[in-house]
Symmetry: D2
Subunit: 312 residues, 4 copies
C-alpha cells in the first residue's frame, strides 16, 4: 500500500445539492475525471472534503459512494478526523468496514495534549486500525505541529505509513524528509500545499495531496511526471501556473477562511461543468456574484482551459 501511495492523491471535494445533501452524480463526475487524468489515489473526507462539516451519516454516505465509484481503480483513503482517540477509532472502524484502503488521522484536538499523548494516540490508531494510518499534519486546524522525530519514530514502529503535510512549515518538512531517508524511508511523505509542490518535491516528497487538483488534475499529474523525469524546468513552470490558479482561493471578498478556499474549488468545478452547484455546508454560504466572477477570470487566464474545450 505504501508503495502505491506516491504521486498525486487529491483530497476530493464533497459536492452538495442546493439543500445540502450529497450530490452523488456530481461526486461521480469529479472522481472519474480525476482517475481519467491519471491520479495515483484519492482521499475523501479531508479538510477539503468537508469532514468537519459532515455528520456521521453523511460521512458514511461519502465513503460508500466513493468505494462504489472508485471500484478499486486507485487506492482510496478516508479522513477519520475527530477530537480525541476514542472518537477517531469509531470513524476508523466505520471506514475500514466500508472498504477504504487507508485512513488519515490528525493529532488530537480540542482538549490540550502534548507529545506523549500525541505519540500514544497514533500508536493506538496504528495498533487497532487494521489498515494503514496516515498522519495528517495540519496545525491551522488542530493547533499542534507534528514533530519530525516523532513522525519518523512512528514510521519505524509501523504505527503510521506516511504523512500528509499541510503544516505550512517547509523547514520542518525538509527535516522530516532527511530524517525519514536516514531511517530507511519508513514513511511515505505527501505535501498538501498547492502553491509549492515543486519545493516539496525538491525537499523529498513522494507525492502531493493538492485540493486544487480537483480543478486542474492534469496540471498536478503533469507536474509529478516532470518531477519523476527530473525535468525541473517543466516542474517549475507548471507550478508557477498552478500557483497563479490557486489565487482563486484568495480572491473572494464576501467570505473568508475555509469557505473561501473550498468555496472557490467548488465554484471553479461548477464553472467547468463538473459539479451542479457550488453549495457549501452551514454555517458557510456559497460564493456568489463578484466572487464567482473573480474565480471565472482567474480560471480563464491560467486554468486548465476547461472553459474552452476546443483548445484542449
Amino acid at each position: 500500500m505504501t508503495g502505491k501511495l506516491t504521486g498525486v492523491i487529491p483530497p476530493v471535494v464533497t459536492p452538495l445539492t442546493e439543500d445540502r445533501r450529497l450530490d452523488v452524480e456530481s461526486f461521480e463526475r469529479v472522481i472519474n475525471r480525476l482517475i481519467t487524468a491519471g491520479v495515483n489515489g484519492l482521499f475523501v473526507l479531508g479538510s477539503t472534503g468537508e469532514v468537519a462539516f459532515c455528520t456521521d451519516a453523511m460521512r458514511a454516505q461519502v465513503i460508500d459512494a466513493a468505494v462504489r465509484i472508485v471500484d478499486g481503480r486507485v487506492p482510496l483513503l478516508a479522513g477519520v478526523i475527530d477530537t480525541q482517540t476514542a472518537r477517531v477509532l469509531d470513524h476508523v472502524t466505520a471506514a475500514a468496514a466500508a472498504g477504504v484502503d487507508a485512513v488519515v488521522a490528525t493529532a488530537p484536538f480540542y482538549a490540550v495534549t502534548h507529545t506523549p499523548q500525541i505519540r500514544r494516540h497514533f500508536e493506538i490508531l496504528g495498533d487497532r486500525a487494521g489498515i494503514p494510518v496516515y498522519a495528517y499534519d495540519i496545525p491551522v486546524c488542530v493547533h499542534t505541529k507534528l514533530d519530525p522525530d516523532l513522525l519518523v519514530d512512528l514510521g519505524r514502529s509501523g504505527a503510521i505509513a506516511g504523512v500528509k503535510d499541510s503544516s505550512g512549515d517547509d523547514i520542518a518538512f525538509r527535516r522530516l524528509c532527511l530524517k525519514n531517508r536516514a531511517a530507511g524511508e519508513p514513511l511515505t511523505l505527501l505535501t498538501g500545499h498547492e502553491f509549492v509542490v515543486d519545493g516539496a518535491y525538491l525537499s523529498g516528497a513522494h507525492g502531493s495531496v493538492p485540493g486544487l487538483a480537483n480543478v486542474d488534475p492534469d496540471g498536478y499529474v503533469r507536474l509529478h511526471r516532470a518531477f519523476l523525469e527530473g525535468d525541473w524546468a517543466t516542474v517549475r513552470g507548471e507550478q508557477d501556473r498552478l500557483a497563479k490558479l490557486m489565487e482563486i482561493c484568495l480572491s473572494a471578498k464576501g467570505i473568508t477562511g475555509w469557505g473561501a478556499g473550498v468555496g472557490a474549488f467548488k465554484t471553479a468545478l461548477m464553472l467547468q461543468g463538473v459539479i451542479t452547484t457550488n453549495q457549501v455546508p452551514e454555517p458557510f454560504d456559497a460564493l456568489t456574484g463578484a466572487d464567482v466572477e473573480a474565480v471565472r477570470t482567474i480560471l480563464a487566464a491560467v486554468g486548465p482551459r476547461a472553459l474552452d474545450p476546443a483548445t484542449r
Copy 2:
C-alpha cells in the same frame, strides 16, 4: 430557564472504570454530593466532563444516566461540542430527546471560520434546538474568542440564553457584562475560571461553572452565597482558599495539558472517596505516584477537609 441558571453550576466529571467505561455508581455519588451541597444546576459533557473524548455512545450513556440521577432536582445542561454546525445539531437533537434542560455549544472549530459564520452557527442552533442554548467561550480549545458585541446581539435576538466564559480574558468579560446590562440583561453570564470567580462576580457574572466544584462544592456555594449577601470579605477569603486548592491542577510533573487538570480533579475525588478510580480516557494516563501525593498534600492543606470527616 434562564432565571434558574444563576449560581453554581458545576461541570460534572465523568468517572470511569479502570477499563474506561462509565462508572455509573461513582457518577451517582458525584452528582448527589453536588446537589446536596446546594448547587444550582449541573453541566455534563463539558470540557471537564470529557466531551471531546466520549464516543457518541458514551455521550448518550452519560446524558441518560445524568437525567435519571438528577431527576429534575436541578436544571441539567449538556455539552454538544463538535466541529461544525451539522455535527453539533446531531448532538443537540440527541440531548434534547434524552431530556436535558439546555445545551452548551462552542463556536465552530477545526475548519477556520470568522464572525459571520460564528454568528450564523449560533443563530441556527438557537433556531432549531428547541431548548435554550448557551454559548461556551473557550478559545484554548476552539481557538476563537467570542466577541462581546456578537454575544449580546445573539442574546437580544433570542438565539442564546447565556454564556459560559472560559476565555481567560477578564477584560472582555467585564465589557460583556456591561454591554449585557445596557441591553437589558438578555444573557445569563457564567464564569468557568476557578481561580477568579470573585473577580467575575465583581464584573457582573450571575454564576460560576467551576470544575473544582467537583472537589469542593461547599466552597463555591459558600462563595456564591456571600456574593449574594454583598459580603466581599468572605467572598475573597473563600476564593483565596479555593485558588490555593486549584493548584492541584498545576502540580503534576508526569503529565501536562488537559490530563493534568481533570486528572487532578478525579484524583482528589478518589482520595475523598467519592469516585472509585482516577482513570482518564485515552490517550491520557491517570495520575500516579508523586503526582497523586501532590494532590493529597494540597487537599489536606487547603481542601474541604473531606479527608478528615470528623472535622466537618
Copy 3:
C-alpha cells in the same frame, strides 16, 4: 521605595507638538493634574508614554522634564524598554543618572529567549541598576508571559522590587499574588488593566498603573481609596464607570492597535483642555473627525465631567 509604590501610579502620556516634539507645557499640566488628584507615583516612558517611539534623545528629554516637574513630590519611575539586556542597561544608566527613583523593564524581546535567559536578564538588571527594578509583564508587546514562580524568586533574591502586570491573564495574577504572600510579600504588585482594577485588588494587587488615569485621575484615586476602606460597593461602581469610559480606546474606526488606545487618551486630554494637541508619533496619525467625536460622546456620558467644570 517599595513601600511607597502602592496606590495609583499612572503611566504618563508624552504630549507632542504638531511637529512631534515634546510639548513640555502640556506635559507639565498633565503631571501636575495627576499629582493634585492624589496619585501615589508616576511612571514615564511606559507603553502609554510612547517609549517604543521615542529616540534616545527624546527619552532623555522626557525624563529630564519629568524629574524637574515632579520635583520629588511623588516617586518617579521610568521605562527602560529595549530589546535585550545590554541595550536596557544603557537606558537604566541614563535614567538613574537623571534622577528617577526606579526603572521598569520588560523581558527581552525580538530575539527569542526562554526562562533561563529571562531570569538572568532580570538578575543582571537587579545587580547593576543601583535603583529598584520593576518587571513589566506585557506579553502583547514582548510575546513572553512572565511566570509567577520566576517573579517571586526574583523578588526573594532582591533582583526586582515589584511587577507591573499588563499580561491580560487574571489567573496568573491571582497565582502571583498568593505565591508572593506565601513568600512574605517581597514584591509590590501593580495591575495595568484599566477595565478590571477592582478584580486585581480583590486578587491582591497593591496598586494600579492605569493609562486611563491620565484622563480620569480622580476616578482611579477614588477607586483605590474605597478599596483601602473595604468599601467594595464603591470600588465596583467606580470601576464600572471607568470601564465604560475606557471604551474610548475601542471606539476609533480610522485606526487600530496602539494608536487607537493612546490616541484616545490624548484626544480626551485635548478635549479636557489639558494638552494642546492629540498628536501621536510616526507611523501613527492622530485621531480625527468621527473618531474624535466618539471620544467626546463617551467622555460626556461617563467621564470625569472635566468638560463641564461647573458640575464638579
Copy 4:
C-alpha cells in the same frame, strides 16, 4: 545597487571576546573568508549579527569595522532594527553616515501596529534614508507578517529595494515572487532560510541570506552557481548536505532559542579556527561541553571539511 544584490549575502556573525567586546580580528577573518568564497554581499547587524543585543556604541563599532574591512569589495548592508520609526531612522542616519550601501529594516514592533502603519513606516524610511532600504520579514521576532501585496506596492513606489524573507512561510514567498514578476520585478527577493534555499530559488528568489554561510560559505556559493546554471540535481544535493549541517542549530541541549542557533554558528566557527571564542551576548551563555561536541560531530560528518584541511 538592486542589481548587485543577488546571490549569496550572508548575515555576518559578530564575534566577541570572552568579556563580550567586539573581537575585531576574528571579525576580519570571518569577513575575508566570506569574500574569498565568492559571496555577493555582506549583511551586518542582522538577527544573526546580534543586532538586538548590541548597544548603539557596539553597533557603530561593528559598522565601522565592517566598512573598513570590506573596503568596497562587495556591497555592505546593515541592519537598522529597532522598535518604531523614529528609532529606526536614528540607526539609518548613523549607518548611512558610516558608509554602508543599504539598510535592512523590519516592520515596527513592541507597540501593536497594523498594515496602514507598516506601510507608512516603510514609506518614511524609503523617503528619508538616502540609501536603499530592504524590508526584513521576520515574524518570529516582530510578530507581524509582511503581506506580499504590500511589499510589491512598496517596491513599485520605490520605498524599498528588496525583501529579506525569514518568514517561514513558503506559500507567501511564492506569491510574493509571482506578484513581483507580474509587476516588472521592482524587488530583489532574498531568502533567509538555510534549510530550503533550493525551494526558494525554485519559487523565484534572486539570492539567499543564510546564517549558516558563516560556517560553510563555499556550500551556499556552490548552490547559487548551480542554480544559475539550471543544474537542479547539484542544487538539491548541496542543499540536502547543508540542511544536515544546519542541524547544529537544533542540537544543543543546554540552551534554546536564539542562543542555540547563533551559538552553534559561533561554535562551528571556533572549531574551524576562524574565530577565537564562541562567546555570545548576555543574557545568553556560550555553548559548552556536550553541546560543543554535538556541533563538532555534525560538522565532521557533513560540514565543509574545515576540520580536515588536508582534504580541501
